[in-house]
């Protein structure tokens, strides 16, 4: 499902003395079955954009197309619910949303709200638990007896259970240890690869952007500054550091090599594997002249 923003603006508390503009002139597009990274500082407007992706907020200017639905400032609030089934959001620290007596019921909560039968919803929970790295024995346990990392997985399962077409992830691994971080990010990547899920990742981790995303949107001070593939955008390392955004460690190292050894990488490496291959190629080719 495609999502497109056209000239979108959003002002908080419009028409009051406290009004403040959070977004302006936003144009961006998220293609079906793509993996888009949304990058920017705290306060750049990322979380406001995110709430527009499933119409939790409506723009105060411009239009948003979500699949075949058009959202404008005057769109009626009724009937937006069906959008939220199609665009699932895993908010930052999603464990805060758990409330049911059992893990199975909590995972089933979302699908049931969208009209899925109780049995079917519980069945989805049973299938999803192993997928997020827990097992069936968790079904009847209370979510509040789990460790922070396990609660996070249950909350994620609760969003996946709605079987959304677009999955929006807001810093899904914040506060986890590296092992847990990797497991969860790999799981999302697998969903993207095998089930064609469209993924929107909001993150500060440039390494994750390089590793997983195929499209990248850079937000700053409420508007889109750059949009393109990570490979293209990370070339602008100076501009990125002037924005205090930084580049992935692989890119930083590759640029250092270009600088010191006079190499040029036509395709900027996005992973250490790609970098290793480039190094091998360069060492093989240039060594003779160098000595």
């Amino acid at each position: 499902m495609d999502i497109r923003f056209e000239e979108v603006g959003y002002t908080y508390q419009k028409g009051t003395p406290f009004q403040s503009r959070a977004l302006y002139d936003i144009n961006l597009s998220i293609k079906d079955a793509s993996y888009t990274a949304l990058v920017g500082h705290t306060g750049s407007g990322k979380s406001t954009v995110l709430q527009h992706l499933n119409a939790l907020k409506k723009p105060t200017e411009g239009t948003i197309t979500i699949g075949d639905r058009l959202i404008t400032p005057t769109t009626d609030n009724k009937g937006l619910k069906s959008l939220r089934k199609k665009v699932g959001i895993v908010f930052q620290f999603p464990e805060a949303q758990l409330f049911e007596e059992t893990i199975a019921k909590d995972i089933a909560f979302g699908p049931k709200n969208f009209g899925v039968s109780e049995e079917e919803a519980i069945e989805r929970a049973r299938v999803l638990l192993p997928q997020v790295g827990l097992d069936e024995s968790f079904m009847e346990r209370s979510p509040f007896d789990l460790s922070g990392g396990q609660m996070r997985r249950v909350a994620i399962a609760g969003v996946l259970a709605m079987e959304p077409e677009v999955l929006v992830l807001d810093e899904p691994t914040a506060g986890l240890d590296p092992q847990g971080r990797k497991e969860i990010m790999d799981m999302f990547y697998d969903l993207y690869k095998t089930q064609g899920l469209t993924i929107v990742l909001v993150t500060h981790q440039m390494d994750d952007v390089a590793h997983y995303a195929d499209h990248m949107v850079i937000l700053e001070q409420g508007t889109v500054k750059r949009e393109g593939s990570p490979r293209e955008l990370f070339r602008e390392s100076e501009w990125l550091s002037s924005m205090q955004l930084g580049v992935p460690s692989t890119v930083a190292f590759a640029l250092k090599l270009e600088d010191k050894f006079g190499w040029t990488f036509d395709r900027l490496p996005m992973s250490t594997d790609e970098l290793a291959l480039e190094i091998k190629k360069n060492l093989g080719g240039n060594v003779g002249e160098r000595v």
Binding site: G180, Q244, K256, K280, L283
Partner: protein, 279 residues
């Protein structure tokens, strides 16, 4: 170097039903002015360990000595004055309604006279570069700024030891850098010993020594170079791989033989240079 903290064979269990101890016979010492990072996966007992040092948790066996005091019920408040602690969630340790009120909180608890307090609050805020925010409310600060205020609250008490209990884990990269820089500066200026519990590779690299915890036990101890040379095993120790280690394993996979010892990024560039020459 004289020891400022001695942890002597401590064990601890949260409830009797637990199968294994949260801490099992842990011993180590920390020297004055030393920075020690404690790493380990979630649930390995790192935070429990930190909480025994200022008496927030009383070990079931073994003892803890800070300065020349062996922790007991009578001197617990003197020890807390000596050992400051920054916690994980920036919001849940901010007691005051404004930045300066929060920094003053610890001083108020000690009964410091008001005139003294005013100077010490200003001085501490200056040291963490937050003086211009003195009147701000916490809701209008970033996570990194809140943690810097927490550090100022500790600095104002003029402690000997500062414990960072995953103090940077909820921050964005900018906040993390900001806090790490502040810790480094304050440590130098105040000649503090620092214990930092962390998953962050940069924070671990800033330490003089790393302690690795697993399932309540201290399993390894060494300099960052020694610990980082464990390569892939680092992930199990609750730490991300340093970039040069990642690159080394990718190079190894395509048949380039790499050195086993830990290399910094600069070291890696140099090694590649000489490797290219030799070939």
């Amino acid at each position: 170097m004289s020891e400022i903290i001695t942890v002597n064979h401590i064990s601890y269990k949260y409830t009797d039903e637990q199968e294994r101890n949260a801490l099992n016979d842990v011993s180590f010492t920390i020297a004055k002015g030393e920075w020690v990072a404690i790493i380990g996966p979630n649930g390995s007992g790192k935070s429990t360990l930190a909480k025994t040092i200022n008496g927030l948790i009383e070990p079931m066996s073994g003892d803890v000595t800070a300065g020349n005091l062996t922790l007991n019920e009578k001197n617990i408040w003197s020890i807390r004055e000596m050992v400051g602690m920054v916690f994980q969630n920036p919001d849940n340790q901010f007691v005051g309604s404004t930045v300066q009120d929060d920094v003053a909180f610890g001083l108020e608890n000690l009964g410091v006279p008001r005139d003294d307090m005013v100077d010490r609050v200003r001085d501490a805020l200056d040291k963490v570069n937050m003086l211009e925010f003195a009147e701000r409310e916490p809701a209008r600060l970033s996570g990194g700024q809140k943690q810097r205020v927490a550090i100022a609250g500790i600095v104002a008490l003029r402690p000997d030891i500062m414990i960072l209990d995953e103090a940077t884990s909820m921050l964005d990269p900018k906040g993390r850098q900001e806090v790490l820089r502040t810790v480094k500066e304050v440590k130098e200026k105040e000649n503090l010993s620092v214990i930092s519990i962390t998953h962050d590779i940069d924070e671990a690299a800033a330490a003089n020594r790393i302690i690795v915890m697993k399932a309540g036990e201290l399993i390894k101890e060494g300099t960052p170079e020694e610990i980082f040379s464990y390569g892939d095993q680092l992930i199990e120790m609750g730490l991300d791989l340093p970039f040069p280690e990642k690159l080394k394993s990718s190079l190894k996979e395509i048949g380039i033989s790499v050195p086993t010892e830990y290399l910094t990024e600069e070291g890696m560039v140099d090694w590649l240079w000489t490797y290219g020459l030799k070939k």
